[in-house]
Amino acid sequence: MSIAANPGRTGARGRWFAGSAVALYALIAMIPLFWIFATGFKSPPDSIAYPPKVFFDPTLEGYVNLFTSRSRQTDEYIETLGPPKTWYEEIARSRNMVITGPSRFADRYWNSVVIGFGSTFLAVFLGTLAAYAFSRFKVPLKDDLLFFILSTRMMPPIAVAIPIFLMYRELGLSDTKAGMILLYTAVNLSLSVWLLKGFVDEIPREYEEAAVVDGYTRLQAFRKVVLPQMRAGIAATAIFCLIFAWNEYAFALLLTSGQAQTAPPFIPIIIGEGGLDWPAVAAGTTLFLLPVVVFTVLLRNQLLRGITFGAVRK
């Protein structure tokens, strides 16, 4: 057999070339992420230095600025305060700043967590039930209903936002966590139903049939036989829903402001004195993106399935 026959079984040289090319692409693609991570540990002057600094003295100033609000004070005033009590006060003092309180970042991050987990729970819970019914029972107009569910995902968010904005204003749901949870649940349901239906389809019906013959009701069979086998699929679906809700921006921008705002519309407006405070923005970005990177690595074998709504399963 010749060695260069199949792209899957290339010769050593071809493989080496492919490996280096892919690695090179990956490394270049990682530069922006590495850069933003590094910027989080730069001082503001280092962050706008020319040429860009690859080596620098790391500082936590960006993180301090991210979590606090500060005011600029004169040297005389700062002297009257006595020595700084904490390491973060010390960092602020070195820029002639006095910490006046926490910033809104922690709040916004917490909102993202609550809305993300709340909507994920609802979308996966309802999605599991619907997926089971679609997979096992005769549903009238099944294909049309499934298409309808998927098509809700296709709608441009800004277009949906106009009536939702009006509706939420009438119902008093604007700028509330409950309103955002409900909205993200609705958006995620399409993904949840489609993905989970794929997972239920893979569980042989015979298990339930046997359970029913053994005296279980349909619901008991669902709870005690099907659900435990869906665990991995439910976990993967939940992570996809969570990432979507976590990343969502358009609805959050238009429907929230003071109370229920999530991190994505907040991060761009972390502004320091005299233009954008890049290390603080980078610090916020790092903290915001890190969980997604971790989940992506955990989920790497399910990604294909998730991004195609369960159509391609490898």
């Binding site: 010749s2 026959a5 199949n6 071809g14 493989r15 080496w16 492919a18 490996g19 892919v22 990956a26 693609a29 922006p32 992420l33 933003i36 706008i48 230095a49 020319y50 040429p51 309802l126 619907a130 029972f137 998927l150 809700t152 296709m154 709608m155 441009p156 968010p157 800004i158 277009a159 949906v160 106009i162 009536p163 939702i164 904005f165 009006l166 409900l182 349901l189 399409s190 139903v193 029913v212 005296g215 009701t217 349909r218 619901l219 921006y249 358009a250 994505p264 991060i267 761009p268 923005v281 980078a282 970005t285 997604v292 992506t296 690595v297 790497r300 990604l303 195609t308 159509a311 391609v312």
Partner: protein
């Protein structure tokens, strides 16, 4: 109590037909079906279909959401006529088309290329693949935000690297009328070429080895093998990926808003960005509803094709 009795009967008499048992005990299948699907459909009707119908109604009125007390007048199809007659709207649609077409072309080239390379099963392939996949999972708005930093004309690393290798001097990707459309295309390609790659890879892995072995017996050269075996087998997957990303990019909002906010001038003012301006800054709710409906219809048409393609890939 009756339940227990029936259960006892069911377990004591093994010859009871399962069908009979199922009908008697617990909820009927039909009741479960609607109990299970009902809530999902109710939420989707309330949050998707009802608003859609409302938008259709608003698109025939002169309603302004910032003046709730004002009398709402039925204006017929005037909003649609004004929209289709407006040269600005065609400009925004043109900018959107430019963005969609070029991102798709670049992402297919990069994504398919990477997939072909990764398919050679070199050592560490899964590690590098995972790294490459990270950008597509990130929040587009946050990605747009930090790319403004990377694109900074004086101090940004993008300008520095290009200048270092090509000697172009400082380049202002976001501030320049000619470069800004490419600035958003580059970021989108960085994010989403991995998506195309992943689907192409699935396509490549679905090709059985014996096809290549048979081609070899027929003395097919590498190009012929690619053209007659690889390409036709990967094409459905590639089409699916392009269609899905095409729809997403047609609706593109978050990344571009944070990166260029439509500027400079209106060079990167994509349809969704303009829609947001009309609806939530100028508060022309009726007019923007008509615009939204036009976008809906386009996306819905594309979505229909997408689902058909999906079913084709599935089978």
């Amino acid at each position: 109590m009756t339940d227990q009795t029936i259960q006892r009967i069911a377990s004591d008499t093994p010859d009871v037909a399962p069908r009979f048992v199922r009908r008697v005990r617990g909820l009927s299948d039909r009741a479960i079906t609607w109990l299970f699907i009902g809530p999902t459909l109710a939420i989707l009707l309330a949050i998707n279909i009802f608003p859609l119908i409302w938008t259709v109604y608003l698109s025939f009125t002169n309603y302004r959401a910032n003046q709730p007390g004002r009398e709402v007048k039925w204006v017929g199809t005037r909003n649609y006529e004004r929209l289709l007659g407006s040269e600005d709207i065609w400009g925004y649609l043109q900018a959107t088309a430019h963005f969609v077409v070029w991102t798709m072309v670049l992402q297919v080239l990069v994504g398919f290329g990477l997939a072909l390379l990764i398919n050679r099963n070199f050592r560490g392939a899964s590690f590098w693949t995972t790294l490459i996949l990270i950008p597509m999972m990130l929040s587009p708005a946050v990605v747009g935000t930090f790319w403004t930093y990377i694109y900074q004309p004086q101090t940004g690393i993008f300008s520095y690297i290009i200048d270092f290798f090509a000697g172009t001097g400082a380049i202002d990707m976001i501030g320049s009328v000619t470069l800004a459309p490419w600035a958003i295309i580059i970021v989108d390609t960085w994010m989403w070429a991995p998506y195309i790659m992943l689907l192409c890879l699935a396509g490549l892995r679905s090709i059985p080895d014996y096809l290549y072995e048979a081609a070899e017996i027929d003395r097919a050269n590498a190009l012929q093998k690619f053209w007659y075996i690889t390409l036709p087998r990967v094409l459905p997957f590639l089409m699916l990926a392009v269609l899905f990303r095409g729809i997403e990019n047609f609706k593109m909002f978050d990344m571009v808003v944070e990166l260029t906010s439509g500027g400079p001038g209106s060079t990167t003012e994509l349809a969704s960005i303009n829609l947001k301006r009309e609806a939530f800054e100028k508060w022309r709710t009726g007019f923007s509803s008509a615009f939204a409906i036009i976008l809906f219809v386009t996306v819905f048409g594309l979505g229909n094709i997408y689902v058909k393609a999906l079913n084709k890939v599935k089978s």
